[in-house]
Symmetry: C2
Subunit: 342 residues, 2 copies
Amino acid sequence: MKLDQVTIKDIARELKVSSSTVSRALKDYPGISDETKRRVKELADKMNYRPNAIALSLQKGRSFTIGVIIPEVVHFFFSTVISGIEEVAFDRGYKVILTQTNEKLVREKSSIDTMLANQIDGVLVSYSKETTNFDHFSQLLDKGFPIVFFDRVPNIEQAITVTVDDYSGAYEATKHLLRQGYRNIVHLSGPSNLNISRERQRGYTNALIDHGFTPDPEFIVECTLGTDDEAQKTTTEILKSFKKKPDAFFANNDMAAVGAMLACKAAGLRVPEDVGIVGFSNWQFCSMIDPTLTSVAQPGFNMGAKATEILLDLVEKKIQLHEFSNSVVLDTELLIRKSSVR
Amino acid sequence: MKLDQVTIKDIARELKVSSSTVSRALKDYPGISDETKRRVKELADKMNYRPNAIALSLQKGRSFTIGVIIPEVVHFFFSTVISGIEEVAFDRGYKVILTQTNEKLVREKSSIDTMLANQIDGVLVSYSKETTNFDHFSQLLDKGFPIVFFDRVPNIEQAITVTVDDYSGAYEATKHLLRQGYRNIVHLSGPSNLNISRERQRGYTNALIDHGFTPDPEFIVECTLGTDDEAQKTTTEILKSFKKKPDAFFANNDMAAVGAMLACKAAGLRVPEDVGIVGFSNWQFCSMIDPTLTSVAQPGFNMGAKATEILLDLVEKKIQLHEFSNSVVLDTELLIRKSSVR
DNA sequence: TTGTAGGCGTTATCAG
DNA sequence: CTGATAACGCCTACAA
C-alpha cells in the first residue's frame, strides 16, 4: 500500500539543492537559473513526481474540491446534472466529492460537516425532501462560504440558485395540448410542498386561463410518489369516475405520463387520437415507447454546468455574491412527439 | 470565505493546556484526567470544533476517501452502482470522489493521477471503452495499491473483480428464446474488447450448442455504440440482407434491444409473434415500452456495495490480496416480459 | 541565484 | 497526568 510517492525532498537530495529551490524551479519562479530549472524538471519527470495535493490543501487552506449534495444518484435528471458538474469541475481543475442524502435531513447535515472538515472550496446542493429548515445552510452563507443551490432551492435571501423554468415549461406543454384541440386536460401534479410542483401547476392553470378556459380544480390530481404504477391506478380511476371525460393528461413527470398512457390504452382509448399525453423531464425512454412521448425537456447537464461555473467563479472570487443576480433560470424545451399530435 | 475553523490550538489556548493534551482528551486517550477530558470536550463542543481532515490525511498519509472511475454517470446501471458505493462508503466513514471518463483513456489516466495526488485510499474502476492496455493499473497493483474493478474488468492476474455473471445471464436469455420456439436468434453484441461482451456472446453461443443448434457466425453482429439508433439501423440491414431470416434478437443491452424492436416493427413484423426480443440490464423503461421488454437484470446496487466492501476491507487490511478469491460474480435474473413470450 | 526557517493542523514520541 | 518537539509535504518570507 505504501506508494512511496516522490516528494520535493527526494528530488532536492538527489540534486543536492534545497527543497525550496526545487519547489521554485518546478513553478518557474523568477530568480532560478535556467540550468537548475532544467535539471529539476528533468529529474522530477524522470522520478514521476506528483505534488501531494493534501499537503497543498493544508498549506493553502483549501482543497480544489467541490462537494455535491444530491437526494438520489439513481435518477435520470440528477445523474445528468452530475455529469454537467463533473465536466466543468474537471475542466477547471477541481475534484468532485459526492454524497447522496437519500432524502434524509441528517445525512444532508452530516455531509456538510464532513465536507467542511475536508476544506471543501464550495458546495452544490439540491436539498432533501425532509429539509424544511435551512439554518445549516444560512449559517455558512453568512460566513461567506460559497454555496449554489440547484433544482430544489430554498427561499433564502442570499441564496444563489439555478433552476429550470418550470412555470413556462408547463405553460407551453398545456398550450400545445390546447392547440392540438384537446379541451379537458387533467394535470397529474407532484407533491405540492415542492416548489417545482407548484410552479408546474401554475403554468398549467395560467395556460388554460390565458386561452379562455376555466380551470377545474377536480382536474388537478396529485400523484405523490411519481411512479408509473401510481399514475396508472389514478388515471384508471379518473377515467371511470369523472363525469366530464378527460381527453388529455399533462403529467408532472414522465413516469406518471407513462402510467397514464398505459391506463388509457387499457381503457380502450387510443393515444393520441382519443387522448393526448405530455410528460415532464424528457427521460431517455420518451423516444422509445409507443407512441413516443411528448415531454418538457429539462437541461440537466446545463444546470449542473452552470451551477458549477457560478460556484467556481465565486470560489475564485471572479465574482462577488452581491454583484450577481441571485437566480439563474434555464429554459425548458417542449419536445413534441407522437403522444400529443393529432 | 474564511470559515475560521476552530483548531485544537484554539481550545488549548483557551484552556491553558498544551495542544497534545487537547488532542488526547478528545480521543479518550488513557492517562488524561477525567476532569481535563470533560473540560476539553465541553469547550470543543461549545466552540463547534471539527477536526481538520486534511491535516489528518497529511499526517496519516491517507485520506479516508475512495475514488470512483466510471465511464458515464448518466447511465441507469452505473448510477445504480454509484448508489451502492456511496451507501457503503458513507456507512464506513469514507468519502467518495467521483470522475467519469466519458469513455476516454486520457481521462482515465489523469483521474488516477489526480486521485493518487490526493492520497486516495483505494479506487473502484470500470474502465473506458478506449482502454486496451492496463499498465496504468498494473503498476499500481504491483505496488500493492488497492483497486477493485467492477463490471468492466481487465484480464490481469492480480486484479480483484466484481462482475455480474454475464455468461449465465446470456445463456439463460438464449435458452428462454429457444424454449419459446425461436430458432434463428441474432445476437447484437457489444464491443469485443470488453470482457462483458465476450462473456455474453459465449453464453449465447453455448446455449445454442447445448440445445443442439449450430451457431452461425453471421448471426453475431457487433453494435459498438450500444445506442438504439445504431441497433435500429443494424437490424433493418439484417432483416433486409440475411437469407436465413432471423426470428429473434438477443441484444447485449436494452437500448439496442429497443432499436431492434423498432426496426422489426417498422419492417412489419410483430413482436413477440414474429420476432422475439430480449435485452440486457433491465433498465427502467423495460416495463414501460410496448410490448414490455424481457431483459436480464443486473444487481447494480449490490455490485457497487460489494466492490466497496472488498475495497475497504483491503484498505483496512482486514483481508490480504492473496488470501482472497480474486473474483466475485453476482447472479443475474432473467425478467420475462411480453417481448419474448408467444 | 539559492538556502533557512517557520507554519498549515494533527498526532506520536519522548520527557518531565 | 501533561508538555515540548518533531514530523507529514509544501510554500514563502527573509537571509545570504
